[in-house]
Symmetry: C2
């Protein structure tokens, strides 16, 4: 299985490409924005492809050649300006979904925000609300496709070392999760077809990642 990692140069993306490369039968294609980001991935033996997510759907779709699955882990993040929130977290996400439909790449794993419900929008502090809105509509767009999607809603991301242990369910108590463990969760999701059509929240916990994903 060749996995296109959109946002490979992010911290979750870097862990994920490494884990995919270490997994038998899987290989990563790292979608990056700048040539100088390529060396990390080349050292891992991963293919890279240069794409500006502000390009149009057809241009983005060229990166899907030979790909079996897409993981969207790009993100302006809540700390960039809300202009990029609209253009990346919402519109670029939708373009990568449309590109998947265009190229017949059915498997699509979206890394969303912990809670993207309408209630979460209303409850969000005003600085964070535009980000939640963007993720809300991107998730909604994906749900309305026929793609084999999974939507992962991780808790607050940390740079702590991964423990390999999480709690995952449709809803869990809000909590933290190391970015390394999010990458483990994505890998386990790709390896488990029972996750297709599902979405789940995930935070640090006491179950091994594969078990937690299996029990969804």
């Amino acid at each position: 299985m060749k996995v296109l990692v959109v946002g490979a140069n992010g911290q979750v993306g870097k862990h994920l490409v490494k884990f995919i490369q270490e997994t038998d039968g899987m290989e990563a294609k790292a979608m990056i924005r700048k040539e100088e980001q390529a060396s990390y991935f080349k050292k891992l033996g991963a293919e890279t492809v240069l794409v500006d997510l502000e390009d149009d759907t057809n241009t983005i779709a060229e990166a899907y050649h030979g790909v079996d699955a897409v993981v969207f882990t790009a993100g302006s993040g809540p700390n960039t300006g809300p202009d990029k929130t609209v253009l990346i977290d919402l519109d670029a996400a939708v373009k990568t979904i449309e590109a998947a439909k265009l190229k017949g790449v059915d498997r699509y794993v979206m890394i969303s925000s912990f809670d993207t419900t309408r209630e979460a929008i209303q409850g969000a502090p005003s600085s964070f609300a535009p980000y939640v809105v963007a993720k809300h509509y991107a998730d909604d767009w994906l749900r309305r496709t026929d793609l084999d999607y999974t939507i992962i809603h991780p808790g607050m991301l940390t740079n702590d070392e991964g423990s390999g242990q999480v709690e995952a369910a449709e809803t869990v108590e809000r909590g933290e999760i190391p970015r390394e463990d999010v990458a483990h969760v994505i890998l386990a999701t790709l390896e488990n077809e029972a996750t297709i059509g599902k979405e789940f929240q995930v935070v640090g916990g006491s179950k091994m990642v594969k078990e937690a994903i299996k029990s969804l």
Copy 2:
């Protein structure tokens, strides 16, 4: 016909409420954000209702009591921050659409931007692109409802006095249009059921507004 004007205190909204009040068989309910905005509408004999568009759908829906049609002419505009673009032009628009469904108010007229296609997003200058994205997804949301909608795509708005003459079609050459004429176009749209399920671009031109709307 009682028409709820969302964004009544905007320049198009103020013209529109006036024209509605001057029309036999029609009355306006002006949705405004602050009590001090009410006096203009009270002088016209129009009802007012105080709503913060960042509230939730149920709260917004309370303003729909006794209403036969909704016009969305609220807008952060391209000149406010992109955070408000996300929260008002996209999310508040969607909430007013959902409120219409909730309250069984079928007639919904959306004042969009001149071109909200995917191509327009790609072609927009970066400062304007978030606004186009927001309007794109709001329009898309409305099209996917069962509401009796019309989407109006006006050209560049000016404060010139209205001429009462426009050009309207599915696509027209980019051009200017006075806000007063946009209000005339909205009124003619509300008065003409043949506009249901349609969307059109409109700029200054040489046809009387009612004729231009009839010829769509």
